[in-house]
Amino acid sequence: MIEFKDVSLTYPNGHQGLKNVNLKIEQGEMIVVVGLSGAGKSTLIRSINQLVKPTSGELMVDGKNSLAFNERDLRKMRTDIGMIFQSYNLVRRMSVLRNVLSGALGRTSTVRSVFGFFKHEDKQLALRSLDRVGIVEKAYSRADQLSGGQQQRVSIARALTQKTKVFLADEPVASLDPPTSHIVMKDLRKINREDNITMIVNLHFIDMAMEYADRIIGMRNGEVVFDGPASEVTEKTFEDIYGRPIKEDDKMSEQDEETAENETASHKEGDSA
């Protein structure tokens, strides 16, 4: 369980990223954070694993205030939180499998990892994770030979190999085309349902947020301005969050959705073959 207690974050340049945020996130929730760019979505997500450190308040992770952690405790906490980035953040010259295995570094000793001696079960888990996102046949390809959508699925497999309870996804589909975006979001939701992993995802497309989220958190100017189940959310809610009328650009079109269904279907066939 993750709990924000009056968390604020002021950047060194004086910009306030978070303002008195209070949130409670239960294990296994599927949460989408929405808001315009600069609203603090990214800051909110990154403060959970302290890629940015909040300047006041308490951030409770499993009952302990993570803001008081020393270097060692912080590293240990991070091994329990997987992260997916907008630009995939893979090592492009390394093989897909090695990228995925790097998810297991947190529980592998430095000596073992320097010589590449990963445990057999970690290698199996890496391959199984690649299989779950449907690209196990690419295991020995170099990461930069894959398409954007495939690279994002490698990064999901990397997070799966980390064996975590929480996934943070910072704009995971912002660099992808609509059909691929749906494949990636479906993978994330599937993992949420099957493994009971808490998903906290930043998105800026409102139709995608409504389709995949159980709970939506809306942010504006560093403040949480909406927090509720996705079923209660309407376009009016988004207009309140964004503070302006909804435009076509805020959505992905319906047609893209259909192509995505077809792609997912063929991607499943490929798996069984």
């Binding site: 997987g82 980035f85 953040n89 570094l105 430095t110 997070a159």
Partner: protein, 265 residues
């Protein structure tokens, strides 16, 4: 088409006077230099032409020079080996120095790392060779050590520039997953930089092969010593033969290394 008009800026008032003064100075300086030097006695056509003839054609006709080919070739191989051992050791030793000198890895400590590398590079290689010859004695070891330390200085700087230009995003991902500092370097930095490192090390080898022959002149092993002895005793056929061997081997190594480097990056 529209005519474009722009006024050329006027020359400053003293321009022609200054220009005239500079030209006059150059002419006077030249005439003084030429009239004062006894060029006639320093340069004789017939002497120079026989020397060049012996240097360029000699190696193909002089029996004594041809006879020495296997011996000289082996000495050149010694030079090749000295350069190889030196660069290999230097290219590996340079890696920790490079990390220490990189702003994105060592943060503020990088100033110290850069200082060490700058210090090493400010010594001429020949000076290192002289120092090592007196420290470990005449022979290849002195040459290897001189090249090693010099390569550390040069490659360390080049490596650290490669490290400073890497993509930081994968490192963020590794840190976010709880990987330690060494693991981040091993899995995030090294795969990005190793191909460039190898390419620079090969390039450095091309350079050091040439300087290894020069180092031989101060007794650091290889072909340099016989080269300096032969030229002191004016045995131009021998000198020509050695230069010929150096040119052939250096060219071959250059071609080989360029092809390998093309494949790496």
């Amino acid at each position: 088409m529209r005519e474009i008009e722009i006024t050329k800026p006027k020359k400053p008032p003293m321009y022609w006077v200054k220009l005239g003064g500079i030209i006059a100075f150059i002419i006077i300086a030249y005439s003084v230099a030429f009239t004062n030097l006894d060029l006639d006695s320093a340069f004789r056509w017939e002497q120079a032409s026989t020397m060049l003839q012996r240097l360029i054609l000699g190696p193909f006709t002089d029996a004594a020079a041809i006879e020495r080919i296997p011996e000289l070739f082996m000495m050149m191989m010694e030079t090749v080996a000295i350069a190889y051992a030196g660069v290999l050791a230097g290219s590996i030793l340079a890696i920790p120095f490079a990390f220490f000198a990189s702003r994105n890895i060592a943060k503020r400590g990088s100033i110290g790392g850069k200082g060490i590398l700058n210090g090493i590079r400010s010594f001429p290689e020949l000076l290192f060779a002289i120092i090592f010859v007196s420290a470990v004695g005449i022979g290849p070891l002195a040459g290897v050590l001189a090249i090693t330390i010099n390569s550390v200085g040069m490659l360390g700087k080049l490596y650290s520039e490669v490290i400073e230009s890497i993509d930081q995003k994968p490192l963020e991902a590794l840190r976010a997953s709880g990987a330690g500092k060494i693991q981040v370097i091993w899995y995030g930095v090294l795969p990005q930089v190793l191909p460039e490192f190898m390419s620079y090390a090969l390039y450095r080898y091309e350079i050091d092969l040439r300087s290894a022959t020069v180092l031989g002149m101060v007794g650091a092993g290889g072909l340099g010593a016989p080269l300096i002895i032969a030229s002191r005793s004016r045995e131009w056929e021998q000198v020509g033969m050695m230069l010929l061997i150096i040119i052939v081997v250096v060219t071959l190594v250059d071609i080989l290394s360029r092809n390998i480097r093309k494949r790496i990056v």
